[in-house]
Structures are given as C-alpha cells and as structure tokens.
Symmetry: C2
Subunit: 337 residues, 2 copies
C-alpha cells in the first residue's frame, strides 16, 4: 500500500447466492483531501459481519442497501491521520462505518473516539462494538433474561454468540451453545464457561437440546435460522422468548428462506419470537460499554478475535463467516497503527 | 333421538389430512345414570371449533389429545335434566366441554351456568364463549392494542375474527378483515363496520394489504397461517405485533406446516410474533364477559351464529370450518331446550 493510494472495494453487482470476489470492483483512488470540519482516517482493522450480506441485497431493510458502484459498507477501527474537526486530533483512535478501503473521510458523524490502552483496537469492533451491543441489548432487553433461565445461543463461538452466552452466565443462567465443530464447542465450554455445547455438524441438535435443556428453553438467541431454529422451537419451555438477531444459514440462499415449519410451537408454549436491530439502542450504548468493560476488567467476560490480514483479501475473508470458519469476532488487519 | 338413547361420536382413528366420517365411530349407548354430586346435561348446541382438529392428533400440545375410543371433545350448551349437585338444578342452562353426544354427566367442574334470557344459547359458545374470550384477550392483552393502530385479522368472518375486528373498532383502530368470498367480506364491512375487507379467494392479499394499510400493519391477528401470514409479514409497521391464535389453513396438511419464509420481517421491523391459548386467561373470563355483554347491549358488538342441524351430521358440519363455509360461529343444533 502506497501512502498516496486508497484501495477500495466497491459493490459491482448484487450477489446471487454466495458472495464472490467478482461481486466487487477492487480499485485504487488517490487518498482524499479533507475540507472544513472533516477528518481523514486510515483503516487499521476492518470488521466483517454477517449483516454485510444483507446490505448487498436490493430492497427495503432496516438500512438502505449499498448502492452499485459505492464503497462496500463496513465497520472500521482506525487512526486519525488528518483533522479539520475540533473533536478529533491526529493520532486519535476511532471507530465508525467507514467502508472497505484504506482511507476514509468523515464529518465526525457516527465516528467514535476509543482508547486503545483500555482494550486492543479489534475489541472495539467486537465485544465493545456492534456485536457486543447486540448481545447485551438482545439478551437482556429483547430476551428479558432472568436469573435461572435456560438460555440457548446459536453461532455460539461467533462475535455475538460468545458475548450472549457469557452475559447469561454472569446473570446466573444455564447456558447451552450451538456451534460448528469440536474446537468451537471446546472454546465456549472450556474457555467461556458455557454449561454445554452442541456441535451441529456432528450431533442431532433437536435431540441434544432435549438432553441439555431438560426443563425446556427459556430464551433462544438465534443467529442462524434454518433447521437450528426449528430444533429450538421443538424444545421451548412455557413463555419462552426467541430473539431473532440473524439467520446466517439463510443469507446466501438462492431459494426462498426456510421459514420455521413448527412456528405453532409459539402457540402451544405461549412463547414469543421478536426481532431486533442494535441501532435502536444507540442512546444506551454507553450504559452497555460501561457494564461490558467492567466485566472484562473483572475477567468475567472474555473476548476473542479472529484476525486475517490484508485489505486485498476482503472477499475471501468475508466468506469465512458464511463457511463458519471463524472463532470469535472476525476482523481484517489492514494497516498498523 | 330416543330419550333413553345417548348417541355419541367417538374418535376411531387419528385422521390423516382432512378429517372424515370414518375417523369416528357413531354409536348408541344408554343415557347415563348420575351419582352423588353429579349432573346430567342434555346437549342443545354443539360448538364446532378449528382447534378440534388439533385435539385429534397424537402428541404434546396445550391439552392432551382425545384418546382413541373416547367421545370426541367439544364445547356444549345444554340443559340440566337431572342433578345431584347443589349448584345446578333441573332446567338450568349450562355450557361446558361435554363432548359430541346427546347427554353428558358432569361433576360440575368446568360447568358454567348461563342465562338464556340475556343472550341466545349459541352466543355462549361464540361471542360470550371461548371464541369471544380468545378475541378479547388476544387482541387487547397479547396484541397490546392501542387506539389508532392498524389491525388486520384473518378468518375475519369466523367466530374469533368477527369479535377481534369489532373490539378493535370499539377501541378506535383501523380494521381490515381477510375472509374468503364476497359475502363474508360484505358481512364484515357492512354489518360489522370493518374499514375494509380483502377476499383472499379473488385478491392478491399482499398487494391488497399494502393498499389498505398504507402505514403498515400494527397488529396482525392470525387465525389461518400459510400464505396469508406471509402476506401480513410483508406489510408490517415498525414494532408490529403478530398474535398467533391459529393456523386453520395448515391443520389438515399431510405435508409439514408451511413456516413463514419471510419471518425475518420480524427483525427488519423490530416486530414480535406471540402465541396464545385462551385457557390461560380463565381467571379473567368474568371481566371479559362483562365488557362484551355491555358492548352487545349497546349494539356495538354484533354476534352471528351459523347453525346446522342434527348430531348425526357432526363430521360433515365440522368440515365446513376447514372449507371456509361458515360465516360467524358454527354450531350444531342437537335438541331444543
């Protein structure tokens, strides 16, 4: 990377099925100049999130899709390298939605200063970033978690799942994680302290849930959808709450999404299924950050990041999410601070 | 019918697909004798409810299934013809789950005295019975109805739907009913005062909902499931509530129930889908009865019953529900009071 060149991944076309490199144009542009009130940020770490797949689709969703020809939307942790903004100085570490590129210009809106001495920069894209906020408000507010609940989380070794399960443990719940492969299952039980883990690649999830949740599931936090959602619906306790956070198993479908055929379990169990979008909780992020940073200091909340290298590897790294190849928060290291 | 003969429909086998006459044994038994603390009731009206289809299936649900060889479970309005129970006297009108038969013995548990001077007996199986209770608690409690909401109800001309829509109108909502056929649509708009009706047999429900609910649906009260549930999910307002009361379109399936493939609309719209079973509200039935009877007196809540004749016609009459042939609460007249 030259210091005068800004490499960018722009959306070239709307993907059909699994996203691929040719869905992007990888281009070079000059590093932009900044005007009054603007900040230039150099990307150090790029956040890779399942939600990015949805942003590439046409049509109404919770935020507008990325336009064809636009820089692909992504969360970034980086450093201010030039500033005409009173609130940001050269050398500041910041996070924001700055896109898949080496350099970005911001007017300061949505840009947040972070302290790299408190936690490594990638943590601000994970446990102290959007995934952490999603976990915090999803399990506590949407899931209405109570001490003693049996909590099941899918994508348990992922950026959101690992935090959901640990918060539930902190709050005195029984926690069962669902993840793909023995390593991830070991990670959530041995390193994170979940009570049990189910390997969906080698186990019958429905049967395993029955075994690990003898009183039924009080909260199912769903990151994956598909058959695992159905298995959870088959094992609900009365008045169970299902938090719909995502459906990564369905994002690259070329056929219609598989709806849960046993959704009438909601009726039988007087249960609810509720969708969430983390942005709604923005006014309360500070509250969550304080709580989470406190738990991290006390050693109760661990955070793992899965770090790949090089902006040029963005499309292949993004695919790791959908292939289930990451453990913990997946980030791409783009430059050193 | 002889006054010494008790005709009964007993469950002969678990139905596969659409229920049929041969799923029952139609038998004759002597009219039973009553013991101490017991009451003998002669059935006058039999309640026909979509839920009956579920009770015929094997397996765990919100109540145990009807056993093979047992009298088919059904709500009944009838008259006490003999009593050894201090709370019931000969000539009293009562309702209870007394089964598909001419005569039933009860120990008084679950038997409720009703006043035929306040409302005709069939109304106690409909608007002032389980369907009315379902509508009342479903829309007000589970749906968390607020004045000004846009409320959509499917099965709008059915026993539950007709009450749901009228309560929503009383509470100051915009109400759109979905029903099959022009007659039912006319009934809910012209007689019941719904703001609009959609005929799912001749209209594109998704498109029609978009037209009739320009601000989106705040509450969707679902009695039918299937494609109509999907159409509603496609038209939700932010923070919408879906009340899952039933799924009559799916009860006679021989293939798995169709889950809503667009359930991620819950996420996009921060919406919820919640199941209900009316029995949970039993301690509050009196509250609902008082409110509903008051609205009926004031002419704000109308009640229509669809009355077929003759216990011997039970299987064919039950089928009318699944063929969508009834308007209002479907009952079978068995004997005169």
């Amino acid at each position: 990377m030259s210091e005068t060149t800004n490499r960018q991944f722009k959306l070239a076309q709307r993907p059909v099925g699994m996203v691929k490199r040719s869905d992007f144009d990888f281009v070079e542009a000059p590093v932009p100049e900044i005007g009054d009130g603007e900040v230039l940020i150099r990307t150090e770490y790029l956040s890779l999130d399942p939600a990015m797949r949805g942003w590439m689709n046409e049509g109404k969703s919770y935020i507008p899709p990325v336009g064809i020809g636009e820089v692909m939307r992504a969360g970034v942790a980086g450093m201010v390298v030039a500033s005409n903004h009173p609130k940001f100085a050269e050398g500041d570490s910041v996070v924001g939605m700055l896109g898949v590129q080496d350099y970005a210009v911001s007017n300061g809106k949505g840009l947040t200063k972070v302290d790299p001495k408190l936690a490594p920069l990638p943590v601000y894209l994970g446990t102290l970033g959007m995934p952490g906020m999603t976990a915090y408000f999803g399990i506590l507010e949407v899931g209405e978690l109570k001490s003693g609940d049996t909590v099941v989380v899918s994508g348990a070794a992922g950026a959101v799942g690992q935090v959901v399960g640990q918060i539930a443990k902190i709050k005195g719940c029984r926690v069962v994680g669902i993840a793909g492969g023995a390593d991830k299952c070991r990670y959530v039980t041995e390193e994170l302290g979940f009570d049990a883990a189910i390997d969906y690649k080698s186990e019958d999830v429905k049967k395993a849930l029955r075994q690990h949740c003898p009183k039924g599931i009080d909260i199912y936090f769903d990151n994956v959808g598909g058959e695992i959602l159905e298995a959870a619906l088959s094992n609900l306790a009365m008045h169970a709450r299902i938090v719909i956070c995502g459906a990564i198993s369905q994002y690259n479908n070329t056929t219609p999404v598989k709806g849960p055929s046993n959704y009438l379990a909601l009726l039988v169990n007087r249960a609810s299924m509720k969708g969430m979008v983390v942005f709604d909780y923005a006014p309360r992020y500070a509250e969550a950050m304080t709580a989470m940073a406190g738990w991290m200091r006390e050693g109760k909340l661990k955070s793992r990041e899965d770090i790949s290298q090089g902006l040029e590897n963005f499309p292949e790294t993004l695919l790791k999410l959908f292939k289930g190849e990451n453990t913990g928060k997946l980030v791409l290291k783009v430059a050193s601070g």
